[in-house]
């Protein structure tokens, strides 16, 4: 099977180049100018972007229609499933769930049942296909357990994904301490709960020399700590979702439960710090945090609603705002969405180059549309961006040379 994408603008790490991509037997055979082989299927992409498929770090649900619509070709699945991914069998089953289309890369639960106590069988799960280790939706309160986790996982060559929020400070809180939370009478925790957890985990990572990734950082203080740790050469990376670089806690107005997130939305100063950190490279990757929640979890009073948003389909369109606002160039955006996530977790993806697996997207970066929670193909439409007009849409998602949609 040979597929030739012609007349595109190809996103490469060095910038955007004009040309096409030739795909043969699921792999990229040529990039740029090439002679179209006889019998090849051809698609004239008419000047649209050809970009590497998105590698989404830390989704909470396997949601194929949303992944395909959003251009996600590989998704790292959080262990917060029912039951938690803390055994080899569960890891193997999750790893097989998406093939041959969107590949699911499960993350092993760091502790049994994600309870923060005993270490789970991380080594066996790694052999069974776990791509990394994660603490789940919460941090590990016991510093000794976290120290042993980093040490053990690091020795196995696994990156530990931490949820950085001090559990004591955020217990019962549903918002960040702020004027908005005070006016709304919502239980809130100081934004510094994040920096406290980041600081502790960075110290433990320094002791062990183990790689650590903070799935989401959302505050200026935590970003400063990570910036300093990187300057010291620590193997630390961090991610963010569009909600945290585009929205502030004002979005909780009228008790809109679609804006109930974990970590919660922060104030405007923190949001601007996140944008600056994306521009200067302190934040390494953008993820969707895809966590579809039905009405049973969201049509409740704000503090009773479950945190989380459906993010897969809107990830690219929202992230393109960074390019339009000149915070990052387009090639850097795809490093944030594809290249860095793939490299960080050792996945053979993230670049359009000869010999690589053909995971790529055709993107109309100027296509206008309006996010409508009722029209999303995700299993639930809980997006705080409901009604927002955006630009940029995935036209075609190709995984391993197969057109998915």
């Amino acid at each position: 099977m040979t597929l030739a994408l012609l007349n595109g603008r190809i996103v490469t790490p060095g910038g955007v180049i004009e040309g096409g991509v030739l795909i043969r037997d699921g792999r990229i055979a040529a990039v740029g100018p090439f002679e179209v082989p006889t019998g090849a299927q051809t698609i004239d992409v008419r000047g649209k972007l050809i970009a590497p498929g998105i590698v989404d770090v830390g989704v909470f649900a396997i949601d194929m229609p949303a992944f395909v619509a959003g251009g996600i070709t590989r998704a790292l699945l959080m262990p917060d499933q029912s039951p938690p991914l803390d055994t080899v069998a569960l890891i193997q089953r999750a790893a097989a769930a998406g093939k041959p289309h969107v590949w699911i890369h499960p993350l092993a639960a760091a502790t049994k049942g994600l309870k923060g106590g005993d270490l789970a069988e991380i080594g066996l799960m790694a052999r069974g296909g776990a791509t990394g280790v994660a603490t789940g939706r919460e941090w590990i309160a016991d510093s000794a357990v976290m120290l042993r986790l980093l040490s053990y996982a690091g020795a196995l060559g696994l990156v530990t994904i931490s949820h950085p929020e001090d559990g004591g400070l955020v217990r019962g809180a549903v918002a960040t301490e702020s004027e908005a939370a005070t006016r709304m009478g919502l239980p809130a925790a100081p934004a510094e709960a994040e920096a406290l957890a980041v600081q502790r985990d960075l110290l433990l990572a320094e002791i062990t020399g183990a790689p650590i990734h903070f799935r989401q950082v959302t505050t200026a203080r935590a970003i400063d700590l990570i910036r300093a740790a990187k300057a010291k050469g620590l193997p630390v990376t961090c991610g963010i979702t569009p909600a945290h670089f585009l929205l502030s806690d004002v979005a909780m107005g009228d008790f809109r439960t679609f804006s109930r997130l974990s970590p919660p939305l922060r104030d405007e100063a923190d949001r601007l710090a996140c944008v600056a950190a994306l521009a200067d490279g302190t934040i390494d990757l953008i993820c969707s945090g895809h966590d579809p929640r039905g009405p049973e979890a969201k049509r409740l009073p704000f503090s009773d609603a479950e945190p989380g948003m459906a993010g897969a389909e809107t990830l690219l369109a929202l992230s393109l705002a960074l390019v339009r606002d000149s915070h990052v160039p387009i090639e850097r955006l795809f490093q944030l969405l594809s290249t860095t996530p793939a490299h960080r977790f050792g996945l053979p993806a993230g670049a359009i180059e000869q010999g690589a697996e053909a995971d790529l997207l055709i993107v109309d970066e100027h296509a206008p549309w309006r996010i409508n929670s009722e029209q999303l193909v995700a299993s639930a439409g809980n997006t705080p961006f409901d009604g927002l007009p955006v630009e940029g849409r995935v036209v075609t998602t190709v995984k391993g040379g197969t057109i998915l949609g």
Binding site: M184, P190, R299, P301, F302
Partner: protein
């Protein structure tokens, strides 16, 4: 049946002075709208003090009091208010309701709505819950307290009490003291009294004052004595130990020593300072009994009395549209 009140200029012109479908909070109300409700309440005080105590202008209407959180005083106040206006008042028993069995609040709202009430009064322990219900029903909704968010009728009855005792609200210094963090009464009072021109202070231990409360236009004091200095009104709040899942204060004994209102402490306030409390009181904790029971200083029983009149006013005003009162349809 008493005669209809004289119509205001706005009513005669067809622009009614309270253009809100529900009463969910003080936020969003203009000063003249707050004052209109207070003025309307005045007429009911006289009725309530008479032997007749009955005005059937809401005869035939159904009021549902859906209280998802325990309450005796507020529930009784709304029940009496509704009955004195001639309504059929139904109290929803939460302990036996299906909400306890996992029915969502929205299902409950839809169910209540299907029974075609004319007004629903709601109390809930979650901030924003009343708004959630209000969006799903066809009749006016009155917030009788939602979580830590708002308790608008309490703030209005407090304002009415202050205005009657002091003759004004603008320019007064009001100290709201105690557990402000967990208090919906405090939030609504900050908004109402601030909107009406009072100089509002919040006073309490730092663990019980919400962050950035100054952004609501108040001055923050953690020294009780300093906060009381020269205050015209001292509004005490109940220490809500049932809402605390951590150690906010070391003990009731220490709390009383540092933040309990005693006669000696009260001497720091203005000589004729009014003492208020939304009740129920923790006597010997946030307030000493001799202060609470001093009728020269304490307006606590009067607050309860004003509560019925104020709630009658709210029920009357909010149902005028559906009753086809001229100028309100």
């Amino acid at each position: 049946m008493s005669s209809a009140p004289p119509r205001s200029r706005d009513e005669r012109l067809g622009v009614h002075p309270f253009p809100h479908r529900h009463l969910l909070g003080i936020a969003g109300l203009a000063p003249h709208e707050i004052l209109y409700l207070l003025d309307e309440a005045e007429q009911w005080i006289a009725l309530n003090r008479s032997t007749a105590k009955r005005d059937d202008r809401l005869h035939g209407l159904t009021q549902i009091n859906a209280f998802f959180e325990n309450s005796t005083r507020t529930l009784l106040s709304f029940e009496i208010a509704g009955k004195r206006l001639g309504m059929d008042v139904v109290n929803m028993a939460v302990a036996t309701s299906s909400v306890k069995k996992g029915e969502t609040l929205i299902d409950t709202a839809i169910t209540l709505n299907a029974m075609r009430p004319d007004v629903i009064v709601i109390r809930h322990d979650a901030s924003g819950a009343v708004r959630l219900i209000a969006d799903k029903v066809d009749c006016p909704v009155l917030n009788a307290g939602d979580g830590r968010h708002e308790h608008p009728t309490q703030a209005l009855l407090d304002a009415l009490t202050i205005r009657r005792r002091k003759g004004r609200i603008a320019g007064l210094t009001v100290a709201i003291c105690g557990d402000v963090l967990h208090s919906r009464v405090a939030r609504s009072n900050i908004l109402a009294l601030g909107t009406l021109g009072a100089d509002v202070r919040v006073v309490g231990p730092p663990t019980l004052l919400p962050p950035q409360i100054e952004r609501m236009g108040v001055t923050r004091f953690t020294d009780f004595d300093a906060g009381l200095e020269g205050a015209d009104v001292v509004m005490m709040l109940r220490l809500q130990s049932e809402r605390m899942d951590g150690a906010f204060v070391p003990s009731p004994r220490e709390y009383h020593a540092l933040y309990g209102l005693t006669a000696e402490r009260l001497a720091r306030a203005a000589p004729d300072a009014l003492v208020m409390h939304p009740g129920p009181m923790n006597r010997g904790v946030e307030i000493a009994s001799d202060v609470a029971d001093d009728l020269n200083r304490s307006a606590i029983p009067e607050q309860v009395e004003m509560g019925v009149a104020l709630r009658m006013a709210c029920l009357d005003v909010l149902t005028r549209g559906q009753r086809g009162v001229e100028g309100w349809a």
